[in-house]
Every structure is written in structure tokens, then in C-alpha cells.
């Protein structure tokens, strides 16, 4: 199981709704992918209402991270391997 604290992340949005992060990622990133909840990114299983958008910006991925009390954060983390994994999905 992964740990978000082990990642060198930048927080782009805090305490947002799933509608807000969907709109944010689709509005700000030309390259986006939709995944289902449970999709693993940086060894973290994504939580969310399907489908979950993931954005790509250069060498970084932008994805939502949800906790029960603190709601959802949108994180930006460098990850070339994760980008390749997203691009190679059929």
C-alpha cells in the first residue's frame, strides 16, 4: 500500500467536491484520462465517483486524493512512469 506522504506533491485544490475537481482537471489540462475508482497511481488506489479524471502536465500527473474527514485534494506529482501507464491504456 502506498503512502501519499512519501510523494513529493503539490496541492492544487483543497477540500473540493468531485464535481469541482472534475471541472478543474478538464479545464486546465489538455491531456486527460478517465479511470475507474480503485485505479492505482503511485501505489495509491484512487477513491471517487466514476469516472475519475487524471490530467497530465509535462512530466507530472494531476489527480484527486480523498480522505473521509478532509474531503478531496487535487495533487500534482512528477511521474513519467505513471504517464506512460496512462498513455498505454486501451
Amino acid at each position: 500500500m502506498g503512502c501519499v506522504e512519501a510523494l513529493n506533491y503539490e496541492v492544487l485544490l483543497r477540500h473540493c467536491s468531485f464535481k469541482e475537481y472534475r471541472a478543474f482537471i478538464k479545464k486546465h489540462y489538455r491531456e486527460t484520462y478517465e479511470v475507474q475508482p480503485g485505479y492505482k497511481i503511485f501505489d495509491l488506489a484512487l477513491i471517487g465517483v466514476p469516472p475519475i479524471p487524471i490530467g497530465v502536465d509535462g512530466d507530472s500527473v494531476i489527480f484527486p486524493y480523498t480522505k473521509p474527514c478532509h474531503g478531496t485534494f487535487v495533487l500534482k506529482v512528477e511521474g513519467k512512469e505513471e504517464i506512460e501507464k496512462l498513455r498505454s491504456r486501451k
Partner: protein, 156 residues
């Protein structure tokens, strides 16, 4: 005749944020109802939510095994484990996200129990494949109890 734990189907209760006053009562009642219906109740939640429940049921008369929330979801998503019936307790929007996640990763029956002052608004966000019971209000547990009992009767 008493059903042994090995013979029981597994039921999961996913706790939301520990701040809702009704959550512990709801979880204990669900665990009790699951046991009566032949399930072994397992609870997943963050540490505070689990500790509140453990304090209410210290000898686990009702609640069975308790799991870390993230680890539990990861196991189900990875296909390593699943539950015949899961209840997701929803009183914040994050709870809707957990219900949405379970609706995708679990092959079992998933019921979102939406409760609290914002129950109707939260329930309107559930546009994915998921059974939903809604009990508005903050302090009176009876609507919630009736809603749960109705679901458990469907199951028998």
C-alpha cells in the same frame, strides 16, 4: 442453531468521518443486523472512527474485525478480497466518493446509507449504480433505524 463464523457471509461497514454523532450507533446497529441476518460484520474506517466504535463495543459483541480503510479498499480493488454485502456510511461528500468506489470495485451488493442534515443533497449526488437508503435529520435515530431495518428485511 448458532451459525459458526466460517459459515457466515461477510458484510462490510465502511465508516465515514468520525464527527457524525449518529455514526457509532448506526454502525453498531448495522453490525447487529448483519449478524442476525447470517453475516460476519467487518468494519473499515480511519483510526478515530474505529476507536470510537471499539469504545462502544469493547468486546466486539456486535462488531467483528476492524480494518484500515485505505488498505481495505485496496484489497477489494486488487481482487484479493470482497464482501457479499457492504454498507457505506455517508454524511459528507467524501462518503459519496467511497460509495462510488465500492460500486465499482466490489462485486457484492453495495448500499449507501446517507444520513444527517445534508442527506437529501448528498443522496442527489449518487448517480452511479448503488442502492441507497436516505435518513435525513441529525439526532433522532428512528428514521435511520427504520431505513436500515427495511434494507435488512430485503436481504432475508
Amino acid at each position: 442453531m448458532e451459525i459458526s463464523d466460517k459459515e457466515r457471509k461477510k458484510g462490510l461497514i465502511i465508516l465515514g468521518c468520525p464527527e457524525a454523532p449518529a455514526q457509532v450507533s448506526l454502525a453498531v446497529h448495522l453490525a447487529y443486523s448483519l449478524r442476525r441476518s447470517g453475516y460476519l460484520p467487518v468494519v473499515a474506517g480511519n483510526p478515530s472512527a474505529r476507536h470510537l466504535l471499539a469504545m462502544a463495543d469493547p468486546e466486539h459483541h456486535y462488531v467483528g474485525e476492524m480494518l484500515d480503510l485505505d488498505g481495505c479498499i485496496e484489497e477489494i480493488a486488487a481482487g484479493e478480497h470482497d464482501y457479499d454485502l457492504s454498507f457505506v456510511l455517508v454524511h459528507r461528500e467524501s462518503g459519496v466518493s467511497y460509495a462510488g468506489t465500492m460500486s465499482v470495485v466490489s462485486a457484492g451488493r453495495v448500499v449507501a446509507v446517507v444520513f444527517g442534515k445534508e442527506a437529501e443533497t448528498l443522496a442527489s449526488l449518487i448517480d452511479f449504480d448503488c442502492e441507497t437508503v436516505v435518513a435525513p435529520g441529525g439526532h433522532n435515530p428512528l428514521p435511520l433505524k427504520k431505513a436500515i431495518d427495511r434494507v435488512m428485511k430485503w436481504d432475508v
